[in-house]
């Protein structure tokens, strides 16, 4: 096959998408909040990080030139704040309407980045983002360092989300998703939990944003078009919405697959087709998985369903119905 550096890059990207998909899973898989605004949160975290660490010579209005180790946690916190500002009004709305609102907020954030060019350099973007340890390791070898960073980030994300998923908080969250009335009757403060989850997912996405920037190296508003939201969602749906491993597995399948197809040699005259391959594959995979394996590669039941009996599994839809009280009952543990 081609050189190993290419595959190191692919794996790095897959690890980054895996982190984002696992963060999304906390709010959408378990919280039942269908968030189509991940691109906006990622943009908030990325621009916060970039502005805090930018070289003052670039002529941006606000460039404190902080160390990246200070800016990293700050951008995670900032993204959490942005998530709170979006979530507080948006969470009053139900599924579809919530989804439209988050999509709209993401687009507003992107347009604001374009317009506020004094602070963000607008569509010009910011090149040459500083990366950790790049004074020690240079050139092509740096790709390995980046892979280690991304893999560590994904591992931490996996452990954190697994912890959340199996905690009483996570169980209550899933119970409230399946049967809000029961959760409320048990005295759970559902609305408060949802906003906490939404902000938590924001913080997790904000913490991933710098890793994404280390990989991309230059930032521009175009990166945060709705396309990236759809890619993360596709990864999660392929892997299995609500399953702990789902985001991880889905992102690796999706990214390795799309990048590998990009290796096909195409006549420069047909460059259009090369550009079209990625959206085509993402769309096709999404449609096929939803049609033939709607639970994804790993289903939520694989992650949490150890108490379920074989008979319930066999009876298909009845099992899902009967799982609702179960999840609600677990919440009272």
């Amino acid at each position: 096959m081609t050189n190993p550096i290419f595959w190191v890059g692919v794996l790095t990207l897959a690890a980054i998408y895996a982190s984002l998909a696992m963060a999304l899973n906390v709010e959408s898989g378990w919280g039942g909040m269908w968030d189509l605004g991940i691109a906006g949160l990622l943009a908030a975290g990325s621009y916060c990080y970039v502005i805090l660490t930018a070289d003052p010579d670039l002529g941006m209005r606000f460039a404190p030139g902080l160390s990246m180790w200070v800016a990293w946690p700050l951008s995670a916190l900032f993204t959490g704040l942005v998530a709170f500002a979006i979530g507080a009004p948006a969470l009053r709305l139900r599924r579809e309407y919530f989804l439209i609102t988050t999509l709209a907020f993401a687009e507003i954030i992107r347009q604001l980045v374009v317009i506020q060019a004094d602070f963000t350099r607008g569509t010009l973007g910011i090149p040459n983002i500083n990366r950790p340890f790049d004074s020690f390791v240079t050139g092509r070898d740096y790709n390995y360092v980046l892979l280690v960073i991304a893999a560590l980030a994904a591992a931490v994300m996996y452990l954190v989300t697994r912890q959340i998923g199996s905690s009483p908080f996570g169980r209550t969250l899933r119970a409230a998703r399946d049967n809000e009335a029961v959760a409320l009757a048990l005295g759970k403060r559902v609305n408060r939990m949802r906003i906490q989850t939404f902000v938590l997912a924001g913080i997790l996405i904000g913490a991933t944003a710098p890793v994404y920037l280390f990989y991309i190296r230059a930032i521009s508003p175009q990166l945060f078009a709705p396309g990236i939201t759809f890619t993360v969602w596709t990864a999660l749906v392929i892997g299995g919405l609500g399953s702990i491993r789902g985001g991880l597995a889905g992102a690796f399948v999706l990214i390795v697959f799309t990048e590998a197809v990009g290796l096909i040699e195409v006549d420069p005259a047909h460059i259009n087709i090369l550009v079209a391959i990625e959206p085509m594959l993402v769309g096709l995979l999404l449609v096929l998985v939803l049609r033939f394996r709607p639970d994804g590669l790993f289903s939520e039941r694989d992650s949490f369903g150890s108490r379920r009996t074989q008979a319930e599994r066999a009876s298909g839809r009845a099992a899902t119905a009967s799982s609702r009280p179960t999840a609600a009952a677990q919440a009272s543990d």
């Binding site: 269908w34 009004p89 948006a90 969470l91 009053r92 709305l93 139900r94 599924r95 579809e96 309407y97 989804l99 439209i100 609102t101 999509l103 709209a104 907020f105 687009e107 507003i108 347009q111 604001l112 374009v114 317009i115 609305n191 078009a225 709705p226 396309g227 759809f230 969602w233 596709t234 749906v237 259009n272 087709i273 550009v275 079209a276 391959i277 990625e278 959206p279 085509m280 993402v282 769309g283 096709l284 995979l285 999404l286 449609v287 939803l290 049609r291 709607p294």
Partner: protein
Amino acid sequence: MQNVVFGIVTGSILAVATLGFALVRQTENFLNIAHAQMMALGAFVGVVLVDTYGMNIFAAGAITVVGLGALGVVLSAVFFQPVRHQGGTVLLFTSIGLALMMYACILALFGTQARFYPNVSGSLHRFAGIGIATNELVIIGLAFGSIAALQLFLNGTGLGRAIRAVASNDELARVRGVPVRSVSNTIWFISSAFGAMAGVMLGVLGSVNTEIGWHNILIVLAAAVLGGLRSITGVILAGLLLGIMMDVSALIIPTAYRPVVAFGVLVAVLILRPEGILSVQRRKDAVVT
């Protein structure tokens, strides 16, 4: 005033696009994200027919609208019918998948170069100091003509009544022997045809590029929500209102904020008045009680 006229033109296109979208939302019960890609496809097919094959704009428009209407029926049968029983969210994500695939086809077939409809603006007319071009007049006329035709169809024919029956209560309609399958096909045809028509109009007014679909889906969503999805009048008013607001706001704030205005209105409406501008009844499905 000039901007109000621009706003009315934008708004009538938006009303046409949104009606197609709202029709599917009401009868099939999901938000069809691929609708805006149908608009983009319409704009491209039209521009190819006019620019490459030298067709008359009206002939090209008619072929595009009918052809893409038929394509919409085929796409719904291939993509949406098999997953229909799985409910709204699976359908919604299937439509995102379909939107991505249609976008890929547009990229592959037409390339990333922006294209223009040649010689379609016509002469400029002046009424009391306000200029309006022939193409803009034709767009407004066609938009309202087709909306009126749809209204007549829905109210005056058997199939139209069947559609309204399915929209108000799917199961009851099925039980009462409404031919659900042919109703569904008709809806997809009308919806896609309206989307394609709005796409051609957008192309005639400006330029045609591959990002048209992604740019417009949010504006269509905004208009649909603003209109309350239930009434045709509401959708028309919402489309016009949004179009006028986007174009008039350009006088007060920089034009770069144009999309932000649309989304800001959307967010404000959803949060302050989720039942839409015309509906009296509170939209129960929208708000957490």
